[in-house]
């Protein structure tokens, strides 16, 4: 079966696009790695029925190929489509600190997914730390699940720019106020200019070291907080393996699109966080706009809304950067790459051997060579060599068994 449109990712952007495209009479397949639609944002909420859409769940897309004018989307099954919409979202960005490899250290997104998707309480007493407004809904989700949230630590300090941006979007301001009220009711302190700079424990987390941070995140004034779990999130990295495989143009860590979500590669559209982290409302607008790349003209209202939300996202990005002072949190024994257990000492040795860039560092010391293929440590490894984090090409967006790979031998390439 060949589709007009294959949508990869059933979060806010993908769901919207699939629904609108089906309404317009297109043959649509919607694929997602999880067992339910909704993605990270809508996980655990009631999902709408999608009429006229082939919803293919549990499909971990590991590669996309262009062959004979169509796209082959490889997951457990292979879907053929004339046009592709990549709406694969983003994953948590983390930075290393001593003890972050202990059980009990979770990403903020991972902690939220446990509650929303699995109805699991990640811990009893937790600290939430990192940067960005996402820490607030995570803390509230944890509170609602019955977790005792001891502190929420924002490494940056609120800027006038952020306040101004918030004031221009009343819905966002109301949302933020709601979170703040909920934290205040539960007497959870929200501290800016603070971070978890170390986690301690024998076999799992028993406590964390919290430090005040200078403007560039150098720590001072340390204290200890007892807790059994810590959730850390330093923003998000777009999950852009598939557009990278296809050769789409990038700007920094995200895919470049025009106002109708068209990438630089003919027939490949992208919407939502993969085009730059901007949140669910923006993803919904972009999902709808993407369909207009195929049928009709984009309504000016949608274009204006997108521009407004993107400006807000830009203000967020500038207000919650990751500052380089985190390097001072590390000791030589701190593990930087958890998959391959590469310590800062090993990284420094490789740099001494001539690894001046992330790729050479990977070849000499193995950070990013393991299971997660650098998704966790990529940002830190790039910054440790003084480079801007850049998207890494991954021929396999997901691991695949060798037996499954053999199914993709085609005689036309022999």
């Amino acid at each position: 079966m060949s589709y007009d449109l294959a949508v990869i990712g059933a979060g806010p952007a993908g769901l919207t696009a699939a629904r609108v495209a089906a309404k317009r009479g297109l043959r649509v397949a919607l694929l997602d790695a999880y067992a339910t639609t909704g993605g990270q944002f809508l996980r655990g909420t009631a999902q709408p029925r999608l009429t006229g859409v082939d919803v293919l769940l549990g499909q971990r897309v590991w590669a996309v190929e262009k062959s004979a004018g169509a796209f082959l989307v490889h997951a457990s099954t292979t879907v053929t489509a004339a046009t592709l919409l990549v709406a694969t979202g983003a994953h948590d960005r983390v930075i290393p600190f001593p003890g972050w490899d202990l059980p009990g250290v979770l990403t903020a997104g991972g902690a939220q997914a446990l509650v929303k998707g699995e109805r699991i309480r990640p811990g009893e007493e937790m600290v939430v730390a990192g940067t960005g407004p996402f820490l607030l809904p995570v803390a509230v989700t944890l509170l609602d699940a019955g977790v005792r949230v001891k502190e929420v630590l924002e490494a940056n300090r609120p800027s006038p720019r952020m306040a101004a941006a918030l004031a221009r979007i009343p819905s966002k301001a109301t949302e933020a106020l709601g979170y703040a009220r909920r934290l205040a009711e539960a007497r959870v302190p929200y501290r800016t200019g603070h971070a978890v700079v170390a986690a301690h424990g024998e076999d799992s987390v028993e406590g964390v070291t919290v430090a005040k941070l200078t403007a560039d995140w150098k720590p001072y004034a340390w204290r200890t907080v007892d807790c059994d779990t810590v959730a850390v999130g330093y923003g998000f990295t777009p999950q852009a393996d598939l557009p990278l495989q296809l050769g789409c143009a990038f700007s920094g860590d995200h895919v470049v699109t025009d106002d109708r979500q068209r990438t630089s590669v003919e027939g490949v559209l992208a919407a939502g966080e993969v085009t730059g982290v901007a949140g669910a409302p923006s993803a919904v607008v972009e999902g709808a706009l993407a369909v207009h790349a195929l049928v009709g003209e984009p309504p000016p209202r949608l274009l204006a809304e997108k521009a407004r939300l993107r400006r807000f996202a830009r203000a967020l990005e500038l207000s919650y950067p990751v500052r380089d002072g985190w390097r001072d949190w590390l000791t030589p024994d701190t593990v930087v790459c958890r998959c391959e257990e590469v310590t800062l000492r090993a990284i420094d040795e490789a740099r001494d051997l001539g690894a001046h860039d992330p790729r050479t560092l990977k070849l000499l010391a193995r950070p990013g060579m393991g299971w997660c293929q650098g998704r966790m440590c990529g940002h830190a490894v790039a910054r440790l060599t003084g480079h801007e984090p850049a998207p890494q090409k991954r021929p396999f967006a997901q691991p695949i068994t060798l037996a499954d790979l053999t199914l993709h031998d085609r005689e036309d390439n022999a």
Binding site: D352, T360, L364, M369, W371, L402, L405, D409
Partner: protein
Amino acid sequence: MVGAGIVGASCAYVLTRAGVRVTVVDRGGVASGTTGAGEGNILVSDKEPGPELELALRSNELWRELDEECGGFEWEPKGGLVVAETPEVLDALTAFADTQRRHTRPAGADPGRPENVPPASVQVAAVPVAAENLRGFEPHLADGLAGGVHYPQDAQVQPMLAAARLLKASGARLVRTAVERFLVSGDRVTGVRTGQGDLYADAVVNAAGTWAGSFPQAPLPIRPRKGFILVTQPFAVPPVRHKVYTAAYVTNVASDAEGLETSGVIESTRAGTVLIGASRQRVGYDTAIDYPVLAKLARQAIGLFPVLGDRQVMRAYAGLRPYSPDHLPVIGPDHRLGNLFHACGHEGAGIGLAPATAEMVAAQLTGRPPRVDPAPFAPGRFA
């Protein structure tokens, strides 16, 4: 020294020890080209009797010495096991091994050896393995193989670490910039023009790998031959002990075919992963991923080691092997310009052949007698 791959690093190491002051120039830094895309093979098993086998045998000795002198690059004298699927292939393989075993380096080719130093081993060790004994070498090999040959001299290093360690130990200065062209005065090279200005030298060594043929003042017929490697998940105990490959690999290595060729080449690394090769394609400088080729490699790997079937593959990468028309490396003084030496065109054998290449270049550059006859590798042979 143009190029900071394994050949450039080895040359820098040997030359600095001979008292030469060396500056290495590479646009990508250490091991950024073909060296960073290989398995680190140090093989005698796939070399037919002749000059390349002599270079490989000498290199094999030198790698052992380098591991003792320098080390830190995961030297694994694991040995190779070549297997044959059918009795006919086994006959051909054992006959091939026989010719290898009979090949000894002529005594006259070792004039640099002082009288009191005994001659090193210059013979290939190749031991036929009957079908029923294959599992003694590799417990997880598939059923139904006809037999094989064990090559105890075959070894492996982590090639990127090897280049980095040798370069570091050499003390040579590394300049990370592109070499645009050679500086020429009359019929002699006087240095190189780089992205960071001109560098003058008494001699220039071209170890630019896949790009070594493209300097306009001294072109060489060196072109890329693309190859893929698949990398599996890490194993606590990897199921492959030796470098294991099918006899078809030897014919592919020496083949002149334009199209795609694949043959199963399987080995584990110290990190616990299993590396799966080998494909050969002439598609220019294109390193794009080609899933049907990867699928063929996966099929051949499972054919040899069924236990790999349910294991995950995590990544794949492509590299470019620099090859010459006669598949021999290009080593020695340029036939057009004085003070220019080439050390390139090693195809897929650059890691293995690097130390003997460096020894040869250093001997020629410093006017000492070479250990291996350099004539078959002379750059002028294509003129």
